[in-house]
């Protein structure tokens, strides 16, 4: 040891910066079909290798191969393909709407559609989702109307959240989609509590939660793993590792030191690491985890290894923090393209059918967008009633809120005036 050596910290830096060429050759990517599929009763320790591998089903010839490949009806896969494509078309439309000033903010999930859509297809009706920002595909795959989603993004007169939530902070009790939180990671503990309560009630429904790679540094990620492990809670916990937390690459959250899936091992939670751009792999891993949960074998942690092809949101420019060609060089491809090619390979789909579906979905989104805009956008058209802002603070309106509503001139039929001191 050099006694003159001073201490120095390691500040993680991504491999490549703007102005350089992207290169993912350092990634170790197992071949499709290469990774074993253990029995669902396996312990975290027995399958610890899977936390460092990458489960892949679709190979380079677009075939479904290996132990995780399951016989699935083409019609089922086409439903998944359609939901992913609708999600992408919806995202494109709403992103443009933000640029047109119709909403204040938007976040796309481009490149990550397989995670939410394949998982929604793997769970059962009645299972509860505790999502984070980029799981709009869960709603779309559950056939939740995109009109309702658009009204939320526009905070318009038909917004079921009554203009109270930021755009994309969806919440739907009927769709089993918990309210999105801006304080990241909190849905992880809530999902475990929901799952515990489901078990306490001797129900059969399980819960699932999603978190980004960056937010695994939040306490709730660790709370949830600890408590889910302790109680064998029937929950599937997902880390969507899309490589970027706004401008910080996944190494800033510790992803260079170990995989996010491997976090589960220390807690005793069996962990899988999955090619998140492979619809079939995501589906198979989720079915495995859901079956574990439903069989009272406890929680599973799944890391979905994917890539955020778009910006974090309408508020950032990826060109300032990553190479321009990084998205194009992502070695695991595009989830929609890969499933499409598989369906074509098995003779269930064609390029012409695909092009027709793209056009159909674009038209659906355009037409639905017009209907949503007729119900109001951020600053135009019918807007939420200001008197409603005092409602739902409590289950029943409290006397001081009634007084404040009166003082603000916001009683139904009153003339609004600014708040005290304004």
């Amino acid at each position: 040891m050099d006694r003159d050596q001073v201490l120095q910290l390691h500040i993680p830096e991504p491999k490549h910066r703007p102005g350089e060429l992207a290169d993912f050759s350092h990634l170790r990517l197992p071949l499709a079909g290469e990774i074993r599929r253990p029995p669902i009763a396996a312990s975290a320790y027995e399958i610890r290798d899977l936390a460092y591998e990458l489960i892949r089903v679709l190979d380079d010839e677009d075939r479904a191969v290996g132990p995780w490949a399951q016989p699935l009806e083409p019609a089922f896969l086409l439903r998944g393909l359609r939901a992913m494509m609708l999600t992408r078309a919806y995202d494109e439309r709403m992103f443009r709407a933000q640029r047109q000033g119709k909403t204040s903010f938007y976040m796309k999930c481009t490149g990550e559609e397989a995670v939410a859509v394949a998982q929604a297809c793997a769970f059962e009706c009645g299972d509860m989702f505790f999502p984070t920002y980029r799981q709009q595909g869960l709603l779309i795959a559950r056939d939740w109307p995109i009109l309702d989603m658009m009204c939320q993004v526009y905070s318009n007169s038909a917004d079921r959240l009554k203009g109270r939530q930021m755009p994309v902070f969806y919440s739907s009790r009927e769709a089993g989609f918990f309210s999105i939180s801006g304080n990241l990671g909190t849905q992880f503990s809530q999902a475990v509590g929901w799952a515990m309560a489901s078990a306490y009630r001797h129900d059969r429904h399980i819960a699932s939660a999603w978190i980004g790679d960056g937010a695994t540094a939040e306490p709730d990620f660790h709370y949830a793993l600890t408590l889910a492990a302790v109680y064998h809670a029937p929950v599937v916990l997902n880390v969507v590792n899309n490589q970027w937390a706004i401008s910080c690459y996944q190494g800033m959250a510790g992803g260079d030191e170990s995989t996010f899936a491997s976090r589960g091992i220390g807690y005793g939670v069996p962990a899988l690491r999955v090619d998140g751009n492979d619809f079939l792999a995501v589906y198979a891993a989720t079915r495995w985890a859901a079956e574990r949960a439903r069989s009272n074998l406890g929680p599973t942690l799944i890391e979905h290894f994917t890539y955020r092809a778009a910006a974090h949101s309408t508020s950032d420019d990826p060109g300032r923090y990553r190479p321009q060609d990084e998205s194009a060089k992502w070695p695991l491809g595009d989830p929609i393209e890969r499933l499409k090619r598989h369906l074509v390979a098995i003779g269930a789909w064609s390029d012409a059918q695909h092009a027709a579906l793209v056009a159909e979905l674009d038209e659906t989104v355009r037409e639905t967008g017009r209907r949503a805009e007729a119900l109001g956008t951020l600053n135009a058209g019918p807007l939420p009633d200001p008197a409603s802002m005092f409602e739902d603070v409590y289950k029943e309106m409290q006397p001081h809120l009634k007084r404040q509503r009166r003082e603000a001139g916001l009683e139904p039929g009153g003339t609004p005036r600014p708040a005290e001191g304004a």
Binding site: M128, F130, D159, R160, L161, K162, R164, Q165, F169, S171, S172, R173, F178, S179, S181, N183, T186, F188, S189, Q190, A191, V192, G193, W194, A195, M196, A197, S198, Y200, R201, A207, P219, D220, Y223, A224, T226, L227, V230, Y231, E391, D392, V393, Y394, K395, E396, Q398, P399, H400
Partner: protein, 330 residues
């Protein structure tokens, strides 16, 4: 009439609610054994450890679990061992439990009871003694209640559990073993949002809660023979505040003294003073007075911490001083 301690009254209320409604579900550190003071003792034996669930030491996790459990239809009752530890769970409480009903457009309800224990007693110092009720009362969506006697302890814990909103139920450690009239089996709930006028008077209103209620009553009894008739109000509910009762009282007496054990800055007393002067300024015969703790962390030593808790002597001094300065009253 039978007597019981405040601690026994809370336990009885919890027991009755759990027996009444299978949705009542308890989570917390050491709750199966009864907690550090024995409030939940016997509940695990009566209702099982699937329902009175011990948790690891993780206040933030417990609050998150409870929110998830409430969202599926349960009525969780969680214990945060000391109110000082609520900071560890503050995000889940403030940004989730309190707001989810509102943020979800009314789709979700969070009928959650958060039991916390507060106050200076037993030389427990800066991290086991605070009174943080004002932080909690500052959050739209939360209700905050605190009992001063066994009957209200039982009535308010039952009201908290049956309420469809998150309710923080603050227990003063210094009152756990204080005995009082028992509410009796199956007693009614104490409505949240209603203060209690415990002693009627004509010259000054003393508004307080928790442990200071007894001090205020003792002071009022001592002032009476000297010609100062003090009205004593136990606020019981700190969010919402029962302003109607307070304002009506001050209009009658013309004077108000607010007493609490939390630090004076930004406390419940300031809120009450503001709202009372707004509603009853021309009925006031003198400035609104406040007794509260110094703006300092709470020391453990008895030689120091006695300066932090108001009491009968301080209340007497404040009231007499008011009348001396004003040249009124007795």
């Amino acid at each position: 009439m039978a007597e019981q301690s405040l601690l026994e009254a809370i336990r009885e209320g919890l027991h009755e609610e759990m027996a009444r409604d299978p949705a009542v579900y308890m989570l917390g550190e050491d709750v199966a054994l009864g907690g550090p003071f024995g409030v939940t003792a016997g509940l695990a034996e009566a209702f099982g450890t699937q329902r009175v669930v011990n948790t690891p030491i993780s206040e933030g996790a417990v609050m998150g679990l409870a929110i998830g459990a409430a969202a599926v239809g349960l009525r969780p009752v969680i214990e945060i061992m000391f109110i000082d530890f609520i900071t560890l769970a503050m995000d889940q409480l403030v940004n989730h439990a309190a707001k989810l009903h509102y943020m979800s457009g009314g789709q979700l309800k969070i009928p959650l009871t958060v039991r916390v224990q507060c106050g200076i007693s037993g030389n427990m110092g800066a991290q086991h003694s605070q009174s943080l009720e004002a932080w909690l009362a500052h959050v739209p969506g939360l209700k905050v209640v605190t009992p001063s006697c066994p009957a209200d302890a039982k009535g308010l814990i039952k009201a908290a559990i049956r309420d469809d909103n998150p309710v923080v139920f603050i227990e003063h450690r210094g009152l756990y073993w204080a005995r009082g009239e028992a509410a009796g089996a199956g007693a009614a709930v104490t409505p949240i949002g209603e203060a209690a006028v415990l002693r009627e008077g004509e010259h000054i209103t003393i508004a307080t809660f928790g442990r200071q209620v007894a001090a205020a009553l003792e002071a009022a009894a001592e002032l009476a023979p000297q010609g100062i008739s003090a009205e004593v109000i136990d606020l019981r509910s700190l969010q919402p505040l029962d302003m109607d009762t307070l304002v009506e009282s001050v209009r009658k007496t013309g004077r108000l003294l607010v007493v609490h054990e939390a630090v004076s800055e930004g406390g419940i007393g300031a809120e009450i003073a503001m709202r009372v002067q707004q509603a009853a300024f021309y009925d006031l015969d003198g400035p609104i007075l406040r007794l509260a703790a110094p703006f300092s962390p709470i020391p453990a030593s008895s030689a120091l911490d006695r300066f932090f808790v108001p009491g009968k002597a301080e209340i007497l001094r404040a009231v007499r001083g008011a009348f001396r300065r004003q040249g009124a009253g007795g």
